[in-house]
Symmetry: C2
Subunit: 359 residues, 2 copies
Amino acid sequence: MDYKKRREKVFKVIEERGLDGAIFISPENVFYFTGAPFVKGSVGKILYFAKDGTASIIVTDLDYQEVVDFVDTDALKIVKTEFGERPSERLKKISGKKVGFEEQHLSYYLYDYLRKDLELQPLNGVAEKMREVKDEGEIRRIEEAQKITERALDEALQSFVKGMTEVEVASEVERRMRLLGAESYAFESIVASGERAVYPHGKPTKKRIEEGESVILDLGAQVGGYCSDMTRTFFVGTPRRVLRDVYDAVVQAQNEALKAAREGITGKELDGVARSILKEFGYDQYFGHGLGHGVGIDVHEGPSVSPRGEAKLTTGNVVTIEPGVYIPRMGGVRIEDMVVITGGGSRNLTNFSKKFIEI
Amino acid sequence: MDYKKRREKVFKVIEERGLDGAIFISPENVFYFTGAPFVKGSVGKILYFAKDGTASIIVTDLDYQEVVDFVDTDALKIVKTEFGERPSERLKKISGKKVGFEEQHLSYYLYDYLRKDLELQPLNGVAEKMREVKDEGEIRRIEEAQKITERALDEALQSFVKGMTEVEVASEVERRMRLLGAESYAFESIVASGERAVYPHGKPTKKRIEEGESVILDLGAQVGGYCSDMTRTFFVGTPRRVLRDVYDAVVQAQNEALKAAREGITGKELDGVARSILKEFGYDQYFGHGLGHGVGIDVHEGPSVSPRGEAKLTTGNVVTIEPGVYIPRMGGVRIEDMVVITGGGSRNLTNFSKKFIEI
C-alpha cells in the first residue's frame, strides 16, 4: 500500500485550502493513510497532518505498541499521550489553528470540544473520495476476501441439511472463513429464511430452515483491512412457484445491471437499470433498497449505487450490485455480486454460481 | 424490557428543558427505547420524541418490515420515508423546532444539515446515563451472554492443542458461541499470543501458539441485544518465570479491585486499587489502559473505570474489571471479569476459573 502517496494528497489539500493542518479520527481513514491496525467501532487514535509536511499519530498507551510495530515510523511521528490524557487534549497542544476535519465522522461532542481552541473546517469527504478509487493492491485484498467467502460458503453447503437452524449455517460459514485466512468478518453475517427472509438485515436466529423456504445468506470476510460482500439465495426443497419467478426476475435484473456497469454511468442510472427489469416483472414495489454501494475498508462506502447516486462511476470503484425482492409473509430473494469498474465495463469479483439451487 | 418507562423519562426531559422534541440516531439508543433490531455500525433509523407524548421511528423501506414486526406499533408510530427520501429529510417535515440530540453520536455533517431548519440542543448523554443503570431484564441478558461465552471457551479448550493458530482458536470459540445461542459476537474476538500478546486489541492471526507463550483471549457474545465481555490468559507449556509472576500480580490486582467494587466508589478510585497492587509488584508502567468500562448494549459504555472515571459507581452498573500487564518483546497477561454493582459490594457475572492454566 502506498500510504505515502495517499498522505501527499492530504498535504496538497492543506496547502490548497490554506489550512494549518488536518485531522482524521475514523479508524478506517487512519488505517488508509498509515496502515495502523484497527478494531471496528473503536476510536481513540488521531492522525494529524501539519502543513510543514509532518504527520503524527496520537495514541494512548493502549494502542502504542501495535501502532509502532505496524506503521512506518521513519515517516510518521508517534505521539503517546500522558497517563490519563486524551488524544484530543494532546492534539490541541501540537496542532495549528486552522484545521480540517472529517465532517462525517467527527461527533458534535468532539467538534464542540475542539472548536473552543481551533478553527475547524470540514474537509468535505477528502479521504472518503480518495478511498472510492481503489488501486491494484486494494483490489487484490478485496478479491482475496471474496475468494475466501466463496470457498467457505461452498464448503459449508456440502454439510447443509434441511432443518438446520440459521445460526448453525452462519457458524459453519464463519468458522471456515476464519480457517481460510479471514482476519475478521466484514460485517455481522445475515442468514434469514422463510418469512424472515423479508428482513434485508436479518441476523441469524435459532429458526430452522424448512422445506419450501428461501434462505438469504449475506456474507463477507476481511483481509488486510479490506472487506468483501456477497449474497446468495438458496431454496430448501421445491419452493412456491412465485419464489421461483422472483428468483428469475432478480437474476435478470442483476444481469442487466452487471452489463450496464461501466465508467461514466451514474449510480442512479445503474440502479434504474435493475429497477426497470423488476418493474417489468411487477416486483419493483418489493425492492425497497438501493442497488448497491462501494466496498473497501468499510463494507458500506462510496460511491452510492442508488436512487440518490448522482455521481458517475469511475475506473477503480468497487461496488456491489444486489437487487432484492421481499414479499411480506412470503419470503425474499437477493443476489449480490461485487464488481470493479473499468473503462469499458466492469470486472466481476464474484464467481459463486447463481444457478437456482435447491438444497 | 420496559421500553415505555424508558420513553417516559425522555418525555420528562423534553418537558423540563422546554424542548419541542428529541431525536435519537444511534441504533443502540433506538433499540434501548423501542426494541427495534439493529446491525452494529449501521445507521439510518431516527427515533423522534415529540413533546405531545408521541414517539415515531422514521425508517426507509429497507428496515420497515423488521421494525414493524419487532416494536410495539400501538405505542410507536412507524414513519416510512418516500422512495429516495432520507430519514433526516422526513424528520424536518414532522419535527418541532427546538430539538434535543445525542451530541456523542450525531456527526458534524448531520448536525450541520439539521441546524439549518432546527434549533438543536445537546441532550448531554440522557440516554447514555440511563443505560448505565441496568434493570433485572438487562442483567439477565448480559449474564446469559456471559454464560454462553464461558461454555464456548470451556468446550473449545478441550480440543486445544499446542501449535494451533490464533485464528483456529478464535473460530472454535466463535462457532460454539453461535451454537450455544449467541445472536452475534459482542466485538471482534481478540486472540493474541507470545509477543503479540502485548497488543491489547490484537486480532487473531495465523501465528501458531508455541511452547512457553501466553495467549490472551478476549471474547464476548451478544444475546437479546446485550453484550458480554471476558478475558482469560493461558499458557502453553511452562512459561518464563516472569510471566508466571506477572500472572500472580494481575490476579491479585483484580481480586483487590473486585473486593473494592461497590456503590459509592468512583471509577478512578477503583482503577487506583488495581494500579497500586501492580505498582507493588513493579509492573504498573506496563498497565497502559483503564481498569474497566461499562457493558450493555454496547460492549464499551459508561461508567468509566479508569483514571478519568470521576463518577461514583451505582447499583445496577455492569462494569468490567480487567487489569493487564504487557511487557514488550516478552508477552502479556490480562484477566477480565464483569460485575454488577450492588449496594453492599458487587456480584461477579463471570465464573470462569482464573487458576494458572497450562495447556
